[in-house]
Symmetry: C2
Subunit: 576 residues, 2 copies
């Protein structure tokens, strides 16, 4: 029997319950969403006692489906005020799946001011006082102490930012090597854990598979998983060699690379920060490429970045981090960018929001453009918990508010990712309609996405984006599958078949699409009740022309508004 763990931080008790019938075929995002919708008042304060922090295991997690170990976390977001799901790599999802734990719900707030850790093993869940030496510390120190104490565990920890409940706090998650370089990055989930005084969640299935729901029709499952693995393996070659920063070149080419705080979309020095440059550096100084974020990943887009003396700086340096601390700050030095990433992981803040803050701070005159030491010192403020540090960790919308800037690169309170919506118009449609704030993974139209769709033009974007959002919500985020397997129509039959074989059910592909629509609709309804607008695209993207191609975001608002209005039919001929 699969179960749900309930962790009550108000009275410091834990309990287990059987999975409700209605939750049986949910997983990942659809599961965290459903629990939040069922149990959290959309109007509660995200840091108050009535918000809940929910972990949801993907439908396929723990199986041999390729790249299916990503774990979802959700809550009402302190950053956007709406519903939030963020997923991370690391071995924790698979460990939970093997213990038969489908979800973990952390609720309430302790009366006292102590920090706690939650430990989950086959023996059950326990709430323990956090060891003195991790309080006020970064996630690297925290993970080290906790893994020494509880060997081979997966640690999900908050840093200084989460302890202080800053709105852009993340939860850093240890990878296979025990480095907290993976993250539930977006939406301020670290602040929610911090508000509940949970410094870390420590998970270890101790090698056991007790409670793991067996695959209902294994013979049907295996060949499909194998075939999809092969496809993902093949398609992932570029990512494996160069990481996600392989995107620097194509995004720069279409004029959508955030450069100098979004003043232009092309950086003349872009070649110094590409995935290829990161790869070359790794060859020189003993870094790694082709690194897996969780067991069972065949794409292996992650990396390890060392300094010039061969010492570890950070892991999983991603495209968004590279672009936002790089071109967006006129920084062309990978080591500097890697240090910013490391500090963000360590202090426990989202690199995307923080990179946007850094660009805005340069515009505000707090740091000189391209000043490497200045940038590192700026990010280091977070760890010192100075007023400036806490402000940085509150995300770019709040930073811009305090520094009186009207060029806010955020939707629904969360910074957009490293694709300028004026040049990457499909992604712009997603930013405008994402229920998660400015989140590219909600339905990302990478340059070239959609048959013959020009990212610089408004045409055909909304039809493509609608399907991307539906498939991201269903076959990707709800199954625990990595985005790089692809929220595409070509992958729909594979993943639908595996879900059917896993649970012994018979969904059609159309059912899966309807399921995705239901997830999106449910998120929209929660957010409406919380007071968020359906469509949010900052005015300045519509009126300030982006060099060098003089682009504005000009997808007609009435079309954008229909992306999640499933009563209206849309052109899907360009979807693949």
């Amino acid at each position: 029997m699969e179960k749900i763990l309930r962790i009550n931080m108000a009275d410091l008790t834990t309990s287990e319950e059987a999975v409700k019938e209605e939750y049986k075929f949910l997983g990942g995002r659809s599961l965290t969403d459903q629990i939040i919708v069922d149990e959290v008042d959309p109007k509660c304060h995200a840091l108050g006692p009535n918000n809940k922090f929910v972990i949801g295991v993907g439908m396929l997690t723990g199986t041999t489906a390729p790249c299916s170990g990503r774990l979802s976390a959700g809550a009402k977001s302190p950053l956007t005020g709406g519903i939030k799901e963020s997923n991370a790599g690391g071995p924790g999802g698979i460990m939970l799946a093997r213990m038969g734990i489908k979800a973990v719900v952390v609720e309430g707030k302790p009366e006292d001011d102590k920090f706690y850790i939650i430990r989950i093993t086959p023996a059950g869940a326990e709430i323990l006082e956090a060891p003195e030496e991790i309080i006020g510390k970064g996630t690297y120190d925290t993970a080290k102490v906790l893994i020494e104490k509880y060997p081979k565990s997966n640690v999900m920890a908050i840093g200084q930012a989460g302890e202080e409940r800053c709105a852009a706090s993340c939860i850093s998650v240890t990878n296979n090597e025990g480095d907290p370089s993976r993250n539930f990055g977006r939406g301020g989930l670290g602040a929610v854990l911090g508000s509940k005084k949970v410094k870390a969640i420590v998970i270890n299935n101790e090698g056991k598979r007790d409670g793991f729901l067996p695959i209902a029709r294994p013979d049907e499952f295996k060949p499909v998983a194998k075939e999809l693995s092969k496809m993902a393996n093949e398609a992932g070659k570029g990512l494996r060699a160069y990481g996600t920063a392989v995107l620097v070149t194509p995004v720069n080419k279409v004029g959508g690379l955030p450069t100098k705080n979004w003043h232009t979309g092309q950086d003349e020095n872009f070649e110094k920060i590409t995935g290829q440059a990161i790869h070359a550096l790794a060859e020189e100084n003993g870094g790694q490429w082709g690194h897996a974020c969780h067991p069972g990943c065949v794409i292996q887009c992650s990396n390890i970045v060392n300094d010039k003396d061969g010492n570890y700086i950070t892991g999983s340096l991603e495209f968004e981090t590279v672009a936002l601390f790089g071109s967006n700050c006129l920084i062309d030095d990978i080591e500097t960018i890697a240090w910013c990433d490391r500090m963000c992981d360590d202090f426990g803040v989202d690199t995307i929001d923080t990179g946007c803050v850094a660009g805005a701070a340069m515009d505000a005159g707090l740091i000189e453009w391209g000043d490497k030491e200045g940038l590192k010192n700026f990010v280091a403020e977070i760890g010192k918990k100075t007023p400036l540090g806490l402000l940085i960790a509150s995300g770019v919308e709040t930073f811009c508010k305090v520094y009186g800037q009207s060029r806010v690169p955020a939707t629904k309170g969360q910074s957009i990712a490293a694709y300028d919506p004026r040049a990457c118009k499909g992604t712009g449609v997603t930013y405008a309609t994402s229920q998660m704030g400015g989140d590219h993974t909600f339905g990302n139209a990478l340059p070239g996405r959609g048959k013959d769709v020009n990212p610089n033009l408004p045409d055909h974007q909304v039809g493509v984006i609608r399907m991307l959002q539906i498939l991201s919500a269903s076959i990707i985020d709800s199954t625990g599958t990595c985005l790089f397997v692809g929220p595409s129509v070509t992958k729909l039959p594979y993943i639908t078949k595996m879900v059917n074989a896993r649970y012994g059910i018979d969904m059609t592909e159309e059912d899966m699409i309807e399921f995705g629509k239901k997830v999106l609709t449910q998120e929209k309804e929660f957010n409406r009740a919380a007071g968020l607008l359906d469509v949010d695209m900052p005015e300045w993207f519509k009126i300030e022309k982006l060099a060098p191609f003089d682009l504005v975001f000009d997808v007609p608002e009435e079309d954008v508004a229909n992306v999640q209005n499933f009563d209206v039919e849309m052109d899907t001929t360009r979807v693949w």
Copy 2:
């Protein structure tokens, strides 16, 4: 002919236009609202080029109607994101009226980074480069320099906070003596002026009355004005002697005085900060009471507060300022509170939002409870423009976000005033439904307001509040009349008659009520389009009991939601 001045900060030109037929019988809030609704996109960024700053002269301003010289200013608010009207005393309104200027519309943004001043005289409006010596300076220095240069002018200036476009920036307005102690206090209008690079507006009618619209039926006007003056004069005795801080005692009595960051509603030391105590201090050290905020004021609730050596500290020290820097911070020293008020006026920030920030900062451990020097140093940060200073000047909602606090004393982004909504439930209904954010003047149920209505109980509040909101919008804020004349049914005939006599029209009292409803509805529609919720009452006021009477805000939400739904009839038997 009355006219509207248009100040284009994009191309630095000014122009005049005749008042449109539709604006002819509008004034004050109804006029600034209408211009904003007609000309400003609700979704524009408040600090972007498409917001407008609008001054609107009251319908009765410049006449002998008692206390009718208050001037309205409006814009889309950077604090709430919604429509904003804030009104201030000082002689500027009367000066504009006498020049036949009904409204001033400041639009656009200059290309360069220079600050400007706008000068308005009978010769017209001109845009001048701001003198070097006022840039980066507080409003006291600014007013002094500008009044020396342009004697006898009324100066409306922003301080450091407005220059930096902080969201809780105010515009400080000189009183009859030339001290900038009056304010367009709420909603961040200083930031809007700052975004347009306007350091100050300098007004002088040079004693002329050219352009003043004559009263259409003077014989009908005079006796009503005289009678209402007598009533206001009589009713204002307590305010004249003790100022608005006369409210400390009754608000404390009903358990609604914000004390220790809203943890309790009664302060054992309240007697040290009452209006009576301020009066006694003034008798000792040469301060003043019974001070008029503008010519023609018969109530004269303003004051001058000196230090123990008889030196001027501040003017117009109000109840809200006293309570929020006083009991809310466990400060019982009037001189300390007066210095906080002075600094807020000088740096150009709202005392209400800033007082709330100070309380929250004490809760966050940034200042010790009751630490007088600590509090003054904290407020002084604003003038230094440190990150902390800019954060303080961004208002309590943003401060709480950065410091991870869920007890946010704000609605729609703006701090509530010094009446705890759990004890003063009528005012709570106004906070929840005010289109201006947490603004008591939107419909203030002072303790005792409404026939036999107990402020601690939810009963009968919404009917009383609806009428207060309607009358505040119509006979008070649209006519330029001071709130202390009274948004009451007993004053409705007087003010309606004066408006009729002034314009030569024949509105009924019912027409005036319909007019108030129209103002409220228009504001609600703008705010809905901007993405604001109709009703906003923070969760914690509903779940955290207020000592000593253990009160929560428990007016039923469905009733609150109907305050501005004029299709639903409400109990108005308790209205007076």
